[in-house]
């Protein structure tokens, strides 16, 4: 009798895997690739200014004792327009935001800032996504919390929604 029961094991296993596959097919796919650099120091970089209005950005600018946001964005990126009001709100609350403009032109950067506001103190120009890749960032926009020693503390993928602002403030507070 016990032997008979064993015969059902393969069928039960098959049913389990078929069920698992069917279930996973209904789950939304997580498209985001998290950076593996959280807790690591920033990579060495020194980017030229993205336009004439603000200085460029380097690792040294982000490791002077004050926590900051490092915002990866681009003038050609539509969700970056959506998050502009939130960046402005963060800046109004005293948060310093350093930008890195990905594959961008000075005139486009200037136009974007004129239209959607300028919450940045510095913007580096990353014309070949070099620093973006070194950060483990997989798209625009993305926002990193950098502590005063230049260690990456937190990564926010995608545009910052109004409900994300308190979370980022809290992460900055933690990085103090």
């Amino acid at each position: 009798m016990r032997n008979r029961l064993w015969l059902w094991v393969p069928l039960a296993l098959f049913a389990f895997f078929a069920g698992l596959a069917a279930y996973m097919l209904t789950q939304p796919k997580d498209q985001f690739v998290q950076s593996a650099m959280i807790g690591q120091p920033l990579p060495d970089f020194a980017l030229p200014p993205a336009f004439t209005g603000l200085p460029g950005a380097s690792k040294a600018d982000l490791a002077d004792g004050r926590p900051r946001l490092l915002n990866i964005w681009a003038s050609w990126c539509l969700p970056c327009i959506a998050e502009a009001p939130q960046l402005e709100a963060l800046q109004k609350q005293g948060v310093e935001i350093v930008g890195i403009a990905i594959r961008d032109r000075p005139e486009d950067v200037a136009n974007f800032l004129a239209k959607h506001g300028n919450p940045y103190t510095r913007i580096g120009s990353d014309r070949i996504s070099e620093v973006q890749l070194a950060l483990g960032s997989s798209g625009v926009p993305e926002t990193f919390v950098i502590d005063g020693k230049g260690i990456i503390r937190h990564q926010h993928i995608g545009d910052i929604r109004p409900e994300d602002v308190p979370k980022l403030i809290a992460e900055l507070e933690k990085a103090r």
Binding site: Q31, V33, Q34, S35, A36, M37, A74, W76, C77, L78, I102, R103, D104, R105, R127, I128, S129, E130, Q132, L133, A134, L135, G136, S138, G139
Partner: protein, 143 residues
């Protein structure tokens, strides 16, 4: 009506252009390395690295600007004397195992490598036992 249709078509054509930058590709995005041996190394590596933006393609197969920038990183690092495995490590350190198509034994993937071996061993054990038993039975009959 016709004017509306034309406007719609133009808007649809223009949308993708808005979603991507208009910058020229990075120097080594579409240019091969001069040294054919290094280019072969870089190309073999690029076929086993996942495009982060277009996740079902290798960076060798993708026309996404980010894939071009990743190819530039691979080629310029190989040119600077790094080995393909060093470049792969550099990317894995940033994006995790996910960026590499080359399977690697790690804390989460070891069952994938261990289970087939265990199954083969189990099958061999069952087979040996059965064969042994049958042979034993056969000898018993002959005797």
């Amino acid at each position: 009506m016709i004017r509306g249709l034309i406007a719609l078509v133009l808007v649809l054509i223009a949308l993708p252009a808005l979603a991507q930058d208009s910058m020229p590709p990075a120097p080594y995005a579409y240019n091969q390395l001069a040294d054919p041996r290094l280019e072969a190394e870089a190309s073999a590596l690029m076929h086993t690295l996942r495009c982060i933006k277009c996740q079902s393609q290798s960076i060798a197969d993708s026309d996404a600007p980010m894939a071009g920038d990743m190819r530039h990183q691979v080629r310029s690092r190989i040119l600077a004397g790094e080995s393909p495995e060093q470049v792969r490590r550099w990317l894995i350190d940033r994006y995790g195992d996910y960026v590499s198509y080359e399977p690697e034994v790690s804390a989460t993937t070891w069952p994938l490598f261990a289970i087939p071996v265990l199954l083969i061993l189990a099958a061999l054990a069952v087979l040996l036992r059965r064969l042994g038993r049958r042979r034993g039975a056969g000898e018993g009959e002959a005797a």
